[in-house]
């Protein structure tokens, strides 16, 4: 029973961190209509930043969080217009061209990181690493709690931005109908660049947290890309509300399979869930609007 509770809690905490970047992933799809294959690449970049901030600068890993947002947000902002141009080009299948572009970006990031940093697994160390908290019979690693708190703050900030500011309103309107939003005076091209930057920044922040909980190497990116795809399929592409629920579910599935079956089966379990969901309801099971 204790193990069950412990596993459930661990899963929910991880799911919360996964939720931050899958929300942003969904938002990007809503606005740019691009499925970003590179999502896992941004996670890994964030993780490495966390490692280098501790290894080279001697700072606490958490210091990398704002840095990740600024650095990779800016990089995303620069890449955004390219993605927008490809997605809105007059080629025969712009959506496939855009997918190919993000796949290329992912490959480039992965290859670049392998070349630069090799296949070494790195950790992000923070002042909470190794500490744990006993809640009754359940023992939770403090880093997971802190990561989930950061994740909740990031997601909360994003929702406040989307629902309480004018620009957030423009983003939601654009996600709903970009043609009508343009008629209202929204510069869709610039907004798309901003959203891609926001997404890349948030995803890299989640990467720092993931690197503190697990570890990073250039190969784990694919795993996070699959996570994002899993959540997108479960929630319905573009649905932000459903992404939170789907990410929590993913975290719990992954935790239970790792604890009770073996961590090598967790991806298998995730695919099996995806498969069943697609069979039962091809539109996703948690479909809800932005």
């Amino acid at each position: 029973m204790d193990l069950f509770l412990q596993t459930l809690l661990n899963g929910l905490l991880i799911g919360g961190v996964i939720a931050t970047f899958t929300i942003a992933f969904q938002l990007t799809f809503g606005v740019l209509h691009v499925i970003d294959f590179a999502v896992g690449g941004w996670v890994v970049l964030g993780g490495y930043l966390g490692y280098y901030v501790t290894a080279l600068l001697g700072l606490d890993g958490f210091a990398a969080i704002p840095l990740a947002f600024v650095l990779f947000g800016a990089l995303g902002y620069l890449i955004g217009p390219v993605l927008y141009n490809v997605r809105n080009s007059r080629t025969a299948r712009p959506e496939l061209m855009a997918l190919a572009l993000t796949f290329g970006l992912f490959t480039l990031l992965r290859g670049g990181m392998l070349t630069a940093w090799g296949f070494n697994t790195r950790n992000v160390t923070t002042f909470l690493s190794g500490e744990s908290l006993a809640v009754g019979p359940v023992i939770v690693p403090l880093i997971r709690v802190a990561a989930a708190v950061f994740a909740a703050a990031i997601a909360g900030g994003l929702f406040l931005f989307l629902y309480r500011t004018r620009y957030g309103l423009a983003i939601r309107a654009t996600a709903e109908n970009c043609h009508n939003a343009a008629l209202m005076g929204v510069n869709i091209r610039r907004l798309s660049a901003n959203v891609y930057g926001l997404y890349a920044g948030i995803t890299a922040m989640a990467g720092v947290l993931m690197g503190a909980i697990y570890s990073v190497n250039p190969e784990v990116g694919l795993r996070y890309t699959l996570f994002a795809f899993f959540v997108a399929v479960l929630a319905g592409l573009g649905s932000v509300g459903g992404a939170v629920a789907a990410a929590l579910m993913l975290g719990v599935i992954e935790a239970f399979v790792s604890t009770y079956v073996g961590s090598s089966y967790s991806l298998l379990a995730i695919f099996a869930t995806l498969f069943v969901v697609l069979l039962v309801s091809p539109k996703g099971i948690l479909r809800r609007g932005l």
Binding site: L169, A181, A182, M184
Partner: protein, 237 residues
């Protein structure tokens, strides 16, 4: 007096030319109507004038400003709003959020809120449903919402694409009545309509389009005098 002029506009989709060089003019404070059979390019022409579709030839002008050189999101800042076919409300945004989008081009947020408050009083059905999602409104209420939203930016010209389509007879009359009221504030209306019988009496000037070309222009009286036009395009209305 402001004038909105389209000068031999050519446009289309992909490689397909739909509008083959149409010219027209709309005056401030007047209602200019475009009639024509389904699929003849009326919506396409309106979109081209509003900058939502690139023009291949010719240009749209608002007084001395060439609208066709501007990106679509700048056109609203010149004082021209397009209400697209179907109204173009955002179904998953609330009534208030839709109205705020109508004022997106205005930098002063407080001015927008003040305008919305002044406007919404004239639309009781909206005032009661501020926090309702636009998608949950009735067709008539959505039509009112898109009209009200178009007014938040205080445009000089409004392009309306079939504002009364799909409405009950009573709502058609209310909508057209509200549109007439706008002209008294000096707003120019360029409107595509299918309810010709109801729109004719309020039109100051009208154009008839067919197969992407202008077939007629004149006053409603001119049309009524033209037996051939009446029979072919107006169904004897």
């Amino acid at each position: 007096m402001s004038t909105l002029a389209a000068d031999t506009i050519v446009t289309g989709y992909g490689k397909q030319e739909i509008v083959h060089g149409v010219s027209l003019a709309a005056e401030a404070g007047k209602i200019t109507c475009i009639f024509g059979p389904n699929g003849c390019g009326k919506s396409t022409l309106l979109k081209a004038i509003a900058g939502a579709l690139p023009v291949w030839g010719g240009a749209a002008r608002l007084d001395d400003t060439v609208l066709s050189n501007l990106p679509v999101h700048e056109v609203v800042r010149q004082g021209l709003v397009l209400m697209p076919q179907g109204g173009g409300v955002f179904p998953r945004l609330t009534v208030m959020e839709n109205l705020r989008m109508g004022g997106y081009a205005i930098a002063d947020k407080r001015l927008v809120e003040a305008r919305i408050e002044a406007l919404i009083e004239q639309y009781p059905s909206l005032a009661r449903r501020r926090r309702t999602l636009a998608g949950a409104l009735s067709g008539g209420e959505q039509a009112m919402l898109s009209l009200a939203r178009a007014l938040v930016s205080e445009p000089r010209f409004i392009l309306l694409d079939e504002p009364s389509a799909g409405l009950s007879p009573a709502m058609v009359l209310e909508t057209l009545e509200r549109i007439t009221t706008l002209t008294r504030q000096g707003i120019g209306i360029l409107m595509v309509e299918q309810n010709i019988r109801e729109a004719m009496p309020i039109a100051d000037r009208l154009y008839i389009l067919a197969a992407g070309e202008k077939r007629f222009e004149g006053s409603p009286a001119d049309v009524r005098d033209d037996r051939q036009i009446m029979d072919i395009y107006m169904g004897g209305a």
